[in-house]
Amino acid sequence: MASAVAHAPPEHAPHYTSTGLDHRKIAIWAFIGSECMLFASLISTYLVYKGRSVSCPRPHEVCTAADGRVFQPILNIPVTSQSTFVLLMSSLAMVLALAAVENKDKPRPANPTLGYRILSSSKLWLAMTALMGATFLGYQAYEFTSFVHEGLTIHTNLFGSSFFTLTGTHGTHVTVGVLWLLTLLAIDFKRGLTPKDALLVDICALYWHFVDVVWIAIFTLIYLIR
């Protein structure tokens, strides 16, 4: 049995993985699987509690409180549609950032056009993604403060508790994503990201797209469906 097999220089061993993929890529998928259950629990609770609040305000209905005050439907769908659009566009920027890093070792044309220079700038697209994420967070901060002014806090009623916890958890995920993107941007400025670093951007991108996809579910189920 032994004679049939060649000997290995031991330093070759650590490079071998069963799937050929980097460990981090598999781990991030496992993490995303776990996050699906986290958001599923939050969204289910929101849906189970929909329409069960005993006090105002309500998401989609005009509501008259016991003291006679009238509350308008609190969800501002046009404004949140804008922030949703920004967040979804950030996924496009993320794709371009990853492509820019992956293509860095391709030979550059002698006279690159403006379009080429824009598309090949990983710094620009990482910054754009982070900026759009931050814009989404700004919209969310505006939404939360205006809700509080209109009389909805996390302890007002079941709607307030489940709404703020769900969207707040999502907002926390976006915040982590923005910090992650800014870290990558800092590395890019410090030493320049090369195609060897594509995996670092790739796993961040997977996380970022996941956070966007979850928002599609939240926006549809909480804002659009009455």
């Binding site: 032994a2 049939a4 993985t17 069963s18 781990a27 259950m37 629990s41 609770t45 996390i154």
Partner: protein
């Protein structure tokens, strides 16, 4: 290099010189074997705590109208007994085996993320202490291990007791999730060349299923606990009935986690038994493929049966019927496993080692627990048994008779691999028989006291209800369990230094972990082996034993690359440096990061004691410590 002829030489004095020792080396270790040992010692410590809690309860219930402890202390005892045994005993004992065995069984030098692995351990230790220490201040959790809300909301459970429980479990959840991501990656990505999924040892397979259960079940209880935490600290309304909350929300979320948790507790023990039986029956496991499929099936169905814990709340005929059927269904893959184990022994040359006795003990006792489980799956029958001692009898047969028997068996079986020495078979036999008899004396009479109507969790009872004899027998059985466990600890402690020396292959088993020295060197495998069947070591030493199972054809080997070597026994202790194997640097950063999380939770807890802003300031400093350490950790090279 294939030293088929060379007899394994044992060199404990050389093994002892391996790596550094001392407290600092344990704090900074990233070696999966040392982390496994940390899990083992810590979990055995918590196991003693949980056992003392149980013994005090049995002392109280031995006779009617006893007042050894007050009702309040009794509440804390049963809550902490359940919480300790599940989260701090059986789960981390399984984690000790995951850590120690999975890399060895798949032919890897460590786990995929060694530092994350250390982080998992430290966060487990801190979470365990966070939840256990309050018992010395009469402030331990007192709402049951299931912590039903709204009972556990501030309105009905003031004080810090439940706060410790909510946050302790939250901390422990982080540990389990981090470990699960790590081991999923390890098993998918670090198998030795040639080890296809269907050639993995069954223990690794069952662990693999458990990792998916952890990844999918823990987020659900995380959210349930976040709601409870917010209700208690930020005045939200998730469990406030007056605000219209559903009193069943907690129960659903908890049991969506809680039932997969049952399989998280039992599947590792099933895996250990599936290693012990073939080794000691000296033939391959019967029906390997079906064993794997039934393990996956159990994991899959485990998510569809949670509401059988809730038959008594009145969910309606439709829900009751569906969950009754899925529950009966899950008995099938479990039964298949039992029959496959029996068939593994059939016709084998059985050797009754202590580990083998425990494995057969599991078969018998788990089957009893499984049968009473099928009884509960019928809602009309369950309505009679719900919240009585019958249920206590049932789940102790599966958790003590199942999980703990498997874990004890695993400890006897793998002790020689971990320490290079055998545990005493004589003391082991005493341990087994006293444990076996004591276990049945303790828990079998509970079936009867339960059917006679004795409710769970009562702190004392009146005479004349027909419960006295059964309770007395249960308490005598508990005394026997204390004796048997003491024998185990004496055996364990003494054998570490004075047990008979064990060779590489202590039991003549067939999987990769037995091809390397006992205890293994820090790099595990000097050369990564190439695997051509499920029992690579038997291929090498006893090919007649594996002639009946599938092997790769020689030309398949080309696919796995030319860099690897065939399976062989490694006997020499050489340093990683000599061999040119890069090893991860020791680091304390995972421990500091875990400390940051602990401080963060302590800060939230403090808001109930000191001014709100002061507590939040502590919490923020904890988060800052965590994030800062995380950046330092991720920017430092691994090896």
């Amino acid at each position: 290099m294939a030293t088929t002829a060379a007899a394994p030489t044992f060199a404990p004095e050389k093994a002892a010189s391996y790596g550094s020792s001392g407290i600092w080396s344990w704090i900074t270790t990233v070696d999966h074997k040392k982390i496994g040992a940390l899990y083992l010692y810590t979990a055995l410590g918590f196991f003693i705590v949980g056992g003392i809690e149980a013994s005090i309860m049995r002392l109280q219930l031995a006779r009617p109208n006893q007042h050894v402890v007050t009702a309040e202390v009794f509440n804390q005892l049963f809550t902490m007994h359940g919480t300790t045994m599940i989260f701090l005993g059986v789960m981390p004992l399984s984690a000790a085996f995951f850590n120690y065995l999975i890399p060895l069984q798949i032919g890897a030098r460590d786990v995929a993320f060694p530092r994350l692995n250390a982080f998992s351990y430290w966060i487990f230790l801190f979470g365990g202490l966070f939840i256990t220490v309050p018992i010395f201040f009469n402030a331990a959790p007192n709402g049951g291990w299931f912590g039903y809300a709204p009972l556990t909301t501030l309105q009905f459970s003031g004080g810090l007791n439940i706060d410790f429980w909510v946050m302790g479990l939250q901390i422990l959840g982080i540990s389990s999730l981090a470990a699960a991501f790590n081991f999923i990656t390890t098993i998918i990505n670090m198998r030795a060349p040639g080890m296809t999924l269907m050639r993995m040892p069954i223990f690794t397979w069952m662990s693999f299923v458990v990792m998916f259960l952890l990844v999918l079940a823990f987020p659900v209880i995380t959210i349930a606990l976040v709601f409870l935490l917010f209700d208690r600290f930020f005045n939200t309304t998730f469990y406030a009935i007056a605000a219209g909350a559903d009193p069943l929300l907690w129960q659903h979320l908890f049991w969506v986690f809680g039932h997969p948790e049952v399989y998280i507790l039992i599947l590792p023990a099933f895996g250990l038994v599936s290693e012990i039986l073939p080794a000691n029956s000296r033939k391959p496991l019967f029906g390997y493929n079906v064993m794997v499929y039934s393990g996956i099936m159990i994991g899959f169905l485990g998510f569809g049966v949670w509401a059988h814990h809730m038959f008594a709340v009145g969910m309606g005929a439709m829900a009751d019927t569906i969950f009754a059927l899925t529950t009966m269904l899950i008995g099938i893959p479990t039964g298949v496993k039992i029959f496959n184990w029996i068939a593994t022994m059939w016709g084998g040359q059985i050797r009754f080692t202590t580990a083998m006795k425990f494995a057969i003990g599991l078969l018998a006792l788990f089957t009893i627990g499984g049968i009473s489980g099928v009884m509960h799956s019928s809602p009309p029958s369950d309505l009679q048994q719900s919240d009585t001692y019958f249920i206590v009898a049932h789940f102790h047969y599966v958790l003590f008779g199942g999980s703990m028997m498997g874990i004890f068996g695993g400890l006897y079986h793998y002790f020689p691999k971990i320490t290079g020495r055998y545990m005493s078979e004589k003391l082991g036999t005493w341990h087994f028989w006293i444990n076996f008899v004591g276990m049945n004396l303790t828990f079998f009479p509970m079936h009867f006291s339960g059917l006679l109507g004795m409710p769970r969790r009562i702190y004392t009872y009146d005479a004349g209800q027909g419960w006295e004899t059964f309770n007395l027998i249960s308490s005598i059985g508990t005394a026997m369990l204390v004796v048997s466990t003491a024998i185990f600890f004496v055996n364990f402690w003494r054998s570490r230094k004075s047990g008979a020396p064990a060779p590489n292959d202590a039991w003549g088993a067939g999987t990769l972990e037995w091809s390397i020295p006992s205890p293994p060197p820090d790099y595990n495998f000097a050369e990564i082996p190439v695997v051509t069947s499920r029992y690579p070591l038997w291929d090498l030493k006893m090919p007649e034993r594996t002639s009946g199972i599938q092997h790769s054809r020689p030309d398949d080997m080309a696919i796995t690359g030319a860099h690897a070597v065939a399976v062989h026994e490694e006997t020499a202790y050489r340093s990683a440096k000599e061999l040119g194997i890069p090893m991860p640097f020791p680091t304390a950063k995972p421990m500091v990061a875990a400390l940051g999380i602990l401080i963060g939770f302590c800060g939230i807890l403090l808001t109930h004691v000191v001014p709100f802003a002061a507590g939040i300031a502590v919490a923020i400093s904890g988060v800052a410590l965590f994030v800062g350490t995380l950046y330092a950790w991720l920017t430092a090279p691994l090896e």
